[in-house]
């Protein structure tokens, strides 16, 4: 018989964002990745083999990622507070 119930554990899920051996998440300054307000999409900064950080986006339920054109040297991405269907994102670069 157990005298006390163990505290509930959080449900943790590891997301593996795999870009291959020559790409890594991250920028020098600021958070690397942000979630969309509805939690369905991930926008993030990643460096390719050329070492230049760029902005990428992917849906959490899909493995494909899309690189956003013209976002070289981007950092500290931020989303509008509500998804409106016309997703836009703030990027400092």
């Amino acid at each position: 018989m157990r005298l006390t119930e163990p505290p509930p554990q959080p449900l943790v899920q590891l997301i593996d964002v795999d870009f291959g051996p020559n790409v890594s998440l991250g920028s020098t300054v600021g958070p690397t990745a942000i979630l969309s307000p509805d939690g369905t999409r991930l926008d993030f900064v990643a460096q390719g083999s050329d070492g230049i950080p760029r902005l990428f986006t992917r849906r959490l339920d899909e493995p494909q990622t899309s690189q956003l054109p013209g976002t070289e040297e981007a950092y500290t991405p931020s989303s509008p507070p509500k998804d409106s269907g016309s997703h836009s994102s703030l990027v400092e670069s």
């Binding site: 690397t32 956003l68 931020s78 400092e92």
Partner: protein, 486 residues
Amino acid sequence: MKKIRLDGGQPIILCDAPWGRGGSWGEDNVIIAALDTRAGLSRIAADSGKAALITERESGEISHRWPQVLPGGKAVLFTANSVPANYDEASIAVVSLPDRHKKVVLEHAGLYPRYLPSGYIIYVTKGSLFAVPFDLGKLAVHGTPKIVLENISSDQSYGFAQLDFSQSGTFLYHRGGTEALRTIHWLYSDGKTELLSSEGAIYNMPRVSPDGGRLAVVVADGSSADIWVYDLGGRGSRIRVPGVPSVSTNPLWSPDGKYLVFQSQGGIFWTLADGADKPRLLTKSSRAQTPSSFTSDGSQLIFFEQLPRGGALIQKISLRMQSGLLEAGEPELVLKTSTGNPFPALSPDGKWLAYASSAESGNYNVYVRAFPDGGTQKVISTSGGNFPVWSPTAKELFYRTQDRKIMVTTYTVKGDSFIAEPPRPWSEKQLANTGLTPNFDLDPKNKRFAVVMSADNPEPPETRSHMTLVVNFFDEVRRRVTLGAK
């Protein structure tokens, strides 16, 4: 600062952001952002890009950064700090947008505060995530902060944490710690190092004395920062420069090695290097003034003063020692820069001024001008550079790259022309991440640098493609804060 549609198109430029430190998009299509490292927060119209300052740093405050527009769009949560390159115990503040009233809600708490829709503020200190209930109406915390998660990757130099959350309660973070402790070494051009201080601490801004026998360095501890002077000779002793209140940074040796000038709240101070007397005010200002270079005879001091809306004034003052007390004349403008961290350095012959600017390329690069100014500047670094240091014995100018390595250029002077050869790496060794604060200085007597290095192992590359997702995070925070309160 730019914005881009995720469903296609090119980025649209909104406004200048020389050294952005975070932006938050409010519900009324207004963005609140830290556009520069040494300025207050700005309000930017997301359609037009028109920007206006909404906070001004108080005396002693270094930076307002990483803002978050709170629900309702009437107030903004942000990080406010007074210690350079150490945000682990920064203050958490809010500003009310209608009246621009600013107040600190948690003093010396941690970095990167975020308000959760469930009514809590979370923030990180030393890799631990804390949560505390927050009253959105009163803009005040109530209760005691509790740890809710460990091993959150954070950057104490820049003051951010690798975390985000959705409105639905999903939490995203990068596991890891902070690059916390640093050590001081001699660094030689072949990459060899020699430990100067085995005790790990949060060091930055090392300055080697003119005779090479002592080292002044800033040691940050929580919300304070003091200057220590290490005897590099046989005794290996150290003394702490007698304190002025709050934070002392940016030490600079007088050319005769008898005294130090440094930055603190209220202006530039000076003190005898042996710690025999209390520091005394040299220049008085409510703005941050950073001593940066002496003329070789010690008769003039070059410093820069950061402006409230970004940028800096490089100035000079004449100095005179009168009855054992150092006196300063009136400041004279040398150069106005559009960026806040020029760190000017005067050449050994006093005819050239090297400094950093990001006005031309967006990245900091090192430039040289005649001193007094002849109106033209010579670019030295082309792929990023800061913190110029002149060799006192050779025609060499050193600087630090963006990825924290030391470069060198050899130069010649022909008439009024400064001719610099293409810069080359002096060492491949990467220095500690101290943000936009200096982490190296040349030993004037030897070909080596005193450098600040990370005492921790760097993050393994394979961890940089993983992040951790927690669902039902808001419930978990509530549970852990409630459990911790019982």
